[in-house]
């Protein structure tokens, strides 16, 4: 779905009123964290269980495991010099028997309900199995290694673009709310529908213009081929490859984001207490910092985290468009190769990443928002 660009106007928090003594605040924070983690872990477990159920729709998880077992056993039998003398039919029979034993050993003859919990356990402990066709750049066939290898590039791309977009949006929106009604303000408002299109869409145009027509920047990838040997030129090359995807991200979220924030700040700056501060003769900068930014900080953080949640998914296609060797492109390749363990593994990893983001949100929230800080237990959510 589209990137949620409008700021959440009312924070998720439920009001908890009491003020805590500062001495045991740390303890409370710890308690809060542990409770949050526990709740989140249960949510992750249920989420991953649902993913297992969905993945099992066509019995694919079973087929995945049996297929892997058959592959391994066939290899074993065909490599065994003693068994080589046997006629082909007997050997095939033997493979079938061994696969049946393996099925029993793995418990595939048990009802699905029982098995599904074992899948859940495997997924939770990140035992994601082996890929059917793909392998990591270091040669590993373990899904976990393949995915871990791709995390860093995704993080690089998404962190760069999101941080950039977030702060540019925020400060530009503050600027606009100060110059409310100016030409620039009106321009941004009228251009805000541009943000409906996702980043990959602008990626097409950017590649077309800067790579195909002008030839200034590379079409895609993360680093020039062959990669430069020294660190300096290597980083420079990565930087050059970053420009277009980051720009695509910026274009797709700039106008809508700025419009949303600007409206948000304007609504806040019409509150009575801001009027009062203005009447007292405080400077614009002071009003901005103390009376607008500070009270809206929880909302700003919520939005930041929401953006992070959307980020993981928005990256999938942007990476494909720019041949960026990250998680998203991995998913694309796995779809092309029908490599089911990698697809299921990616979904599990995505669920974990989302959970991590939600946790981070809650944690930072607790640090910033005094109401949440005091209200321990389930009050925050």
């Amino acid at each position: 779905m589209s990137v949620e660009s409008q700021p959440v106007q009312s924070a998720a928090g439920s009001p908890a009123q009491k003020n805590a003594p500062s001495s045991n605040q740390l303890l409370k924070l710890l308690r809060y964290t542990v409770l949050k983690l526990g709740a989140l872990f249960i949510a992750v477990a249920i989420g991953i269980y649902l993913i297992v159920l969905i993945a099992n729709m066509g019995g694919y998880v079973d087929q995945m495991i049996i297929g892997q077992a058959r592959e391994r056993i066939s290899l074993q039998v065909s490599m065994d010099p003693e068994l080589k003398q046997l006629p082909t039919e007997e050997r095939l029979q033997m493979i079938d028997d061994l696969v049946a034993i393996e099925e029993r050993r793995l418990g595939l003859d048990q009802p699905f309900l029982v098995r599904s919990f074992r899948f859940l356990w495997n997924a939770l402990t990140l035992q994601l199995g082996r890929a059917q066709f793909m392998s990591s750049d270091s040669g590993s066939r373990l899904v976990k290694n393949i995915i871990l290898e791709r995390l860093a590039p995704t993080l690089l791309l998404m962190a760069t673009s999101n941080l950039l977009v977030f702060f540019i949006n925020l400060f530009f929106a503050l600027f606009l709310s100060r110059h409310y009604g100016s030409f620039l303000d009106k321009l941004v408002i009228s251009l805000s529908p541009i943000s409906t299109a996702p980043a990959w869409f602008y990626g097409i145009f950017l590649i077309l213009l800067f790579a195909a027509v002008l030839g200034w920047l590379p079409f895609g990838g993360m680093v020039a081929a062959p990669p430069p040997e020294q660190l300096g030129p290597y980083l420079l090359s990565v930087g050059r490859h970053l420009i277009l995807p980051v720009l695509a991200w910026l274009i797709s979220s700039f106008f809508g984001g700025v419009y949303g924030w600007r409206t948000f700040f304007l609504i806040f700056s019409m509150e009575d207490y801001v009027e009062l501060a203005r009447a007292k003769g405080l400077s614009d900068r002071q009003i901005e910092r103390r009376y607008i930014l500070q009270p809206t900080l929880p909302n700003i953080i919520t939005n930041f985290a929401l953006m992070l949640i959307w980020l993981w998914q928005g990256a999938t296609i942007l990476e494909t468009m720019f041949n960026w060797p990250g998680l998203g492109r991995l998913l694309y390749q796995a779809v092309g190769l029908f490599d089911s363990p990698v697809i299921v593994g990616s979904a599990v990893i995505y669920a974990y990443l989302l959970a991590l983001t939600v946790f981070l949100l809650d944690f930072i929230y607790a640090l910033v928002d005094p109401r949440v800080r005091v209200g321990s237990g389930g009050a925050g959510r």
């Binding site: 589209s2 009312s10 989420g47 996702p198 999938t316 494909t320 694309y332 779809v335 979904a347 959510r381």
Partner: protein, 448 residues
């Protein structure tokens, strides 16, 4: 209805929204026209039919109207059929078992550039001995070039550009260039404009033997929208992409919005355990990665667009939007009119559907309209991942086809730009209308 009219007059104050409404109306008209003019089965035939459908189209040709912006006009495809105009066929008897069939094709060539390639499709009738053909080419300045001598089987496809002997005869130039090039300008070949004549002299050896030939001079531009790597006419996919994109976006937006609202209303109305449960499910749902799950559905279950649509709705029933609606419903629930309705004994269902939900419509309509482009783009995103519908031609699949076949690298910009521009236009139209509606229904926004 008064309310509807009021909305309409309000919209008129936003020129961009008026533009959006006009574009949406045009798109809907185009969609209706498409579904009527090219019925579903016909669209599938045109898009999946095979060589018979698109064999006469050039490969990867930009649309014909691009010639308007070119100083050097690119040729369109010229198809010479035996029953066309400017074709003469004469038969004469040479001896008892030798007959002469002469086919003479004349055509006008007004273009600056050379055709993409030239192919002859021969159909001959004979019983024992195949006819012998000798083909020659007469340029507007009167030169006569021997193209080749061949013996034609029942059905023979003769591609000039693959005839090594002809290439040698033309001093190494590709026949599609060499046959048209102006001899005066050897260094920089330019097509000679004028009337060309193509002579096929066949010697047949049986009385009932006959020769016919269809000649296709593949152009470098084609039709309204150009062709893709399979020689298919892109117009079909562009046209059929319209109803699909609109239907998908609208159904997904309506489906997700109304289910979410219903759930939020039920949660608020019953409160307690139900509300708690809905809240918790929403939180778990937030952890479910939408795109990877859709990818799993696409790979393991079905690629049908409508099944994917069902899953999108299913996964967003407990979407994050519930929190926003919940906050509004919580306020509405305390209103006196709800109290009154409860007092006269309205049922829970009646209260939820007729008293709670209608109050949220002002918030709902702008959101619904604004969420349509997101789903239109989601369809394109899925197509880009190779999970497009296996039969339907959609805008997203066009972009994916173009991207996968290196349209951007090879300068075939029309291929990727046409669906992209349509997507953009449709997305912007809905976004602009949604934006205006948001301001109309939320007066607080109008002040700022």
């Amino acid at each position: 209805m008064k309310w509807l009219r009021q909305t309409f007059t309000d919209i008129k104050q936003y020129p961009s929204a008026v533009g959006g409404v006009i574009i949406i109306a045009l798109l809907v008209a185009l969609a209706i026209y498409t579904v009527i003019a090219i019925p579903y089965s016909e669209a599938i035939r045109l898009w999946r039919g095979g060589e018979d459908v698109w064999g006469d189209n050039p490969r990867l040709a930009p649309p014909a109207w691009t010639n308007l912006f070119r100083s050097k006009k690119l040729p369109e495809t010229i198809v010479l059929t035996p029953d066309g105009e400017n074709v003469t066929k004469s038969t004469s008897v040479i001896s008892e078992d030798m007959y002469d069939v002469t086919l003479e094709y004349t055509f006008d060539y007004p273009y600056d550039d050379f055709p993409q390639s030239i192919t002859f499709f021969f159909t001959t009738q004979y019983e024992a001995r195949a006819p012998h053909l000798s083909i020659s080419w007469i340029t507007p300045d009167g030169r006569k070039i021997r193209v080749g001598d061949i013996t034609a089987d029942y059905k023979l496809t003769y591609r000039l550009d693959q005839d090594a002997r002809l290439i040698r005869r033309l001093d190494g130039a590709a026949p599609s260039i060499g046959l048209f090039a102006d001899p005066e300008r050897a260094g920089d070949p330019v097509a000679l404009k004028g009337t060309y004549t193509l002579l096929i002299q066949a010697t047949t050896f049986e009385e009932d033997s006959d020769v016919d030939a269809k000649i296709v001079l593949y152009g470098k531009v084609q039709g309204l929208a150009g062709t893709d790597h399979h020689r298919r006419d892109i117009t079909v996919a562009l046209l059929w992409g319209t109803p699909i994109a609109l239907a998908f976006g609208l159904l997904a937006a309506v489906g997700t919005t109304f289910t979410t609202i219903l759930i939020a209303a039920i949660g608020v109305w019953f409160g307690g355990v139900v509300d708690e449960l809905i809240q918790r499910i929403t939180e778990i749902n937030m952890l479910l990665p939408l795109l990877p799950i859709l990818i799993m559905v696409g790979t393991f279950m079905s690629r049908s667009l409508w099944i994917i649509l069902g899953w999108i709705i299913l996964l967003s029933i407990f979407g994050a939007a519930i929190k926003g609606y919940r906050a509004i419903f919580l306020q509405v629930k305390e209103s006196p009119y709800i109290e009154a309705a409860r007092a006269y004994g309205a049922s829970n269902w009646r209260l939820i559907t007729l008293y709670l939900i209608p109050r949220i419509i002002p918030v709902l309509i702008p959101r619904l309209v604004s969420s349509i482009p997101g789903f239109v783009f989601l369809e394109a995103s899925l197509a880009l991942l190779g999970l497009g519908d296996p039969v339907l031609p959609t805008w997203g699949k066009l972009i994916e086809d173009a991207r996968a076949n290196g349209a951007l690298y090879n300068g075939l910009y029309y291929w990727i730009l046409e669906p992209a521009v349509l997507l953009m236009v449709a997305g912007l139209a809905f976004a602009m209308v949604g934006f205006a509606l948001d301001r109309i229904f939320n007066p607080r926004l109008r002040e700022v």
